[in-house]
Every structure is written in structure tokens, then in C-alpha cells.
Amino acid sequence: MRSSVGNPADEKRGMNLTLRIWRQKGPSVKGRMVTYEVTDISPDMSFLEMLDVLNEQLILSGDEPVVFDHDCREGICGSCGLMINGTAHGAGVAAPGRTTTCQLHMRKFKDGDTIDVEPWRASAFPVIKDLAVNRGALDRIIQAGGYVSVPTGTAPDAHAVPVPKKDADAAFDAATCIGCGACVAACPNASSMLFTAAKVSHLGLLPQGQPERNDRVVNMVAQQDREGFGGCTNIGECSAACPKGISMENISRLNHDLLGALRAGARPKS
């Protein structure tokens, strides 16, 4: 704990940090780590605000600012995502808490720290520029089956289809996935299994998801293989890095559903 409450002079003193940031001009250009210094960083800043400070500094000195993805900055949209000191969203720094990059605060670091910042690395997530990667692969996994087909019209009564509480809770836990891609980034195999499993569980546990349940799982798994993600070896780095704490049981449920679907004769669309 900082003793800032009793000493207002302390409050003013910010942190001085050394940043080693991955700079890459474009998808097919080779990138490298570049070292920057930032001074007087408030412990109350978020990690992205700290990068904003760096970017202002870079613009003033005529350099190109560092490109990174972000949107809501309140941990719910899934846009931001950086590898911080070798862990997705800085999970190693934030532990035991769970966080997105935008909700990681600078108070988790110490004055004088050197911080490595890299993009998600996977062949399925090509770098667009610097720290921004293309996560369209996750969208295409959703397109392959992560939906329920329902006729449009008036919304049905909320209690028209009963859902057991246990299933509703588990489905909701799975549905909290924000699709940030931290699971892929953290996985030693660059597998998207936790993401796909969360979507398969979310819909597969609910009555509305039953008609397409078998086709959903085979098509989503086929798409994730097509996108060039690695295979799951149940190591658990994904779940540990997940800002929403999606659990490994979803992966088991996906496997269970997939084996059932294959036995029932479901085959992926080519």
C-alpha cells in the first residue's frame, strides 16, 4: 500500500517506466521491439491511458503513434487485448484478479519497471499494425454455427420456454465471453478451443439452441481448424488468462457434444 493518504506530496509523484513495445508497419513487414520511456505515470491510470500518454509524446516528437485496438475501456467489449510482460491482458500482473487490458491499472506496476508489450500472436490473428491484430477468424467461427435460427416477429413471453436454473446459470457463465482472443494468445498451442467451447456451451445448454446443436458443434470445430488455430491439449492457460473466467468445463462439454454429434451422423459443411 502506498502511504498517499497521509502525504499529498506522494500523490503527485508518478511512475517512470521503460516500455518495450512491438512495432510492425504492416501485416507482411517484419516487426521488432522498440524501447520507450514514459515519465510521471499516475498509478490510477489504466494501461491504455498510459499508452495514450506515450502516443501523445510520440506525436509531439514527430514519431508515429503505437496502434492498438480499444473501444469501451470498461472491460466488456473485447476490443483491447495486449500481451503484457508475457501474459494475456497482463494476467500475470493482475493475478489473482481477472482483467482486460483496459481495466488493468498502473498501480499494479512499480516505479522503474520495464514492461514488454506485444500483440496476440497466432497465424489466425495476423498483425494489422503494431499491436492491433485481425480477429476476423473468431467471427467466422461464430458464422459457422454460433447462432440460433428463430423466426422474426413479436418477442415471445420470457416464461414461455422454461429453463432449469442450473442450465441458465451455466449458459450465462459461458455467454460472458467477450471474444477478446486472450485464450488463443495465452494458449501454448494457439488454440481457440475455449472461445469456441464458450459459444457451443452457451447455446447448447438452452432449449432454443437444441435444433441446431449437433450441426453447430461440428461446423464451429471444423471452422476453427480451417482458420489455422492449434489443437487443445487441456493445459489451462486459456482459462487462467480469460478476463471473464470461462472455465475448462466448457471444453469438456464441447468435446462431449462433438462426439455425440458425430455419432448421430452430423458432418461439417464443406
Binding site: P27, R121, I128, R135, L138, G230, E249, R253, N255, L258
Partner: protein, 234 residues
Amino acid sequence: MVTVTHSGQRRTPKAAKTNSVFKKVVMAVSGIILVLYLIAHMIGNLKVFAGRESFNHYSEWIRTIGEPAVPSQTTLWIIRIVLLAAVIAHFWAAVSLWRQARRARPERYVSKKAVAQSYASRTMRWGGVIVLLFIIWHILDLTVGAVNPDGADSTPYDRLVASFQNPFITAFYVLALLLLGMHLRHGIWSATQTLGQSNKRRERTVNAFAIAFATLLTVGFLIVPFSVLFNIVD
């Protein structure tokens, strides 16, 4: 989820290869077959404490199961063929997933730290390769006798004692068994996940069982070479 899309950069999906989950199922099922064999093998090994006679007789019995209904060694060869098929399937799935993982992350992180992974899960691949090399040597040493200090003409009991009286052979055996123990610790958990039999409630139990089983099996195997080394068995 918001995704930045960049025209002209959309990756053309490659043709679907063998389903990665299917490979994991092959891995899990072949692994289970091998684990069942390991249990029988460990129990058989413990016959060494019943004495030379009993151990050699057990070895002879394995070769004569089913006689005279079937010719000598029929059952043994069926077991051997099943095991060989399981090893090949296990190895194929592992290599295939290993290559897939390498393709999935061609550019490595400059700095990468583990948050949750166990040492056991980290040693699955190279540990598995070392265990495979060990098995080949192990068969040449104790089954065939080709590389055994006592040679191929000796009895199984003599080959065992001759091997484990050599501290270097014992050291290699211990190393391989420790790696095998860790392989089983992660393998049992992973197979349960792959076959869709795990959930939040069972997760702790599955992991506790995996640790207990792997420890028991490793100790059961290691007790034999140490007994020879310390002259409890000679």
C-alpha cells in the same frame, strides 16, 4: 466483440484437415489402452519379490496363456499387436497436433510467461519422446535381452537383476519413469476432458485421481530397481 477488418487481408480458409478433436480422441483412447497395460505390467513386476522361481514362472505363463486351445505365445502376440497399434496411434496424434500448434504460432512471443500450466503438461511432448526411446531400449534390454549385461540366454529374473545392479541403467529407468508419471498425471486429466467426461464439479476429483494414480504407478515401478540396487532383491 469488435473486430478490425482489413480488406485484402482476409485469410482464405484452408481445406479442412482431420478434425483436431478427433486426433485428441485417438490420443485419449490409445492412452487409456496403454495405461491399462501399465497397471498389469506393474503388478507383474512386483512378482519379483516372490522370488526368482515365481517371477520366471510368471514370465513363462504370459507366453502360454490359452494353451493348448491356441498355439504358444498367441495371447502374448495379440497383446503386443494391440499395444503397438496404440503406440503408433498415440504418436501419430501427438506429432500431428504438435505440428498444428507450430503452424498456429509461427512467430513466437519475445516474452511469454506461464500463468497456470503444470510442469507435467509442459513436459508432455519431449517427455513423451524420451519415454518412447526408453521403451525401445527397455524391450531390447529386458524382453529381447540384446543389450542386457547378462545377454539374451539368461532368465528374465537374471536380466532384471543384472540391469538394475548397474547404477547408470537404473538412473535412466528412474528418469523415464518420473517422466512417465508426469505424462500420466496430465494425460489422465486431459483424456477425461477430451472424452467430454469432466465438469466443474468433477474437476478437482479428476485431478486428485490423476495425481494419486500417477504417483502410485510410478512408485510401484520404481520399487523394483531400487530393491535390486540396495540388494533387497538379488
